[in-house]
Symmetry: C2
Subunit: 191 residues, 2 copies
DNA sequence: CCGTAATCCTGACAGTGTAAAGATATGAGG
DNA sequence: CCTCATATCTTTACACTGTCAGGATTACGG
């Protein structure tokens, strides 16, 4: 009855899933490769063959996380009334992702452990950046406007993920969103 | 001729200095307590008596770093032409600190290792926040304006410290500062 | 001057990442 | 169907980490 086969079948995917669990529980700074292997029910040296070292696993996880990040933004943008609302919703999606998966958010934006020279990771990151540029250029904005929207969205998200912004934590969800919308609108061209 | 005395004299301060060196070289994620002890020329268990565990040392370092952070902002604000310029300079100081001491910046804003319930750390953080509130209220702004200025300043600083913003890296220092001034001005009340 | 407390060291333990070498299954070529 | 090279996984080993317990040394108040 399903005595463990020597070969896992799809260990790479299982390790990625286990790594994400490990990340959400222990955070980037408490991440343990051996613990990930244990979660996947495999020996501690098994991940090496698929990802090289810990950095390789975290790099793959970051690339995957980056696309999840962009998917969250995309999902928020559907149903936007106009291009301005679309850009604001992207910022709200930025925050939503940071609050829903703070550890993954930190891995992507505030960690030195993934290899950000990895082609896969670069591709995933570029997709998000190009999308942001598209949102702003549609509104007739330039690179200064891109900087404004990105920095403000990221600042709100990062500070919120780290529980640094007590102002936002105190508000109701509706008041919170209204406040953020206000702030994000200042970043858009022609405000 | 100065054979090492058994008692260091001011080991606590020496450990803090060594810890800051370790932090700038290895980053938060590569920080090693034993390595810090080695830097200070002391046994690996010596820090325990002064700081408890690694978290205690990083907490003390974060508190110290937070005041250095605020000092950087204060230094930038002197010579401001008016209150608006003062707020903008604070944002530039935010970035200056993040670029000059990225590891310390990460420890303060993007790490889970320090104990942010520590009274000393809370006090140091509150000083910075209260100062920010003062800057904005002087301009007649409310908490929404505080959020805007803080989030934008932090976003620029954090993304720059992580080398995520290629847009800013390409520009000359003068063009960079002009661009950031533009973005920060949008956050101030009555823009 | 003495003893108590503070300071620092040594030794030990479990846990970590990674490398080397051995075990097992897969799959292609004969 | 058989063989064997290869991919996959395990075992073993090593250096390093944080933390705890206990011993050594010094400083300091009585």
């Amino acid at each position: 009855m399903a005595e463990k086969p020597y070969h896992h079948g799809d260990l790479r995917a299982a390790l990625l899933a286990a790594a994400e669990d490990e990340l959400t529980e222990k955070g980037v700074e408490g991440f343990s490769l051996r613990s990930v292997a244990k979660r996947a029910g495999v020996s501690h040296a098994a991940p090496a063959h698929h990802f090289g070292d810990t950095g390789g696993l975290l790099t793959a996880l970051a690339a995957e996380g980056f696309t999840q990040f962009q998917d969250t933004l995309d999902a928020r943008e559907v149903g936007a009334t106009d291009a301005r609302d679309k850009a604001v919703r992207a910022g709200l999606g930025y925050l939503e992702f940071a609050l829903a998966r703070p550890a993954l958010f930190r891995l992507i934006f505030s960690s030195a452990r993934p290899d950000f020279a990895s082609p896969d990771l670069i591709a995933a990151a570029n997709r998000a950046y190009e999308h942001l540029v598209g949102l702003v250029t549609t509104l007739g904005g330039g690179e200064t406007d891109v900087l404004a929207l990105w920095a403000t969205s990221h600042g709100i998200a990062d500070l919120s993920a780290g529980h640094k912004m007590r102002t936002l934590q105190g508000k109701s969800p509706a008041a919170r969103e209204a406040m953020i919308r206000d702030v994000l609108l200042r970043c858009l061209p022609g405000a």
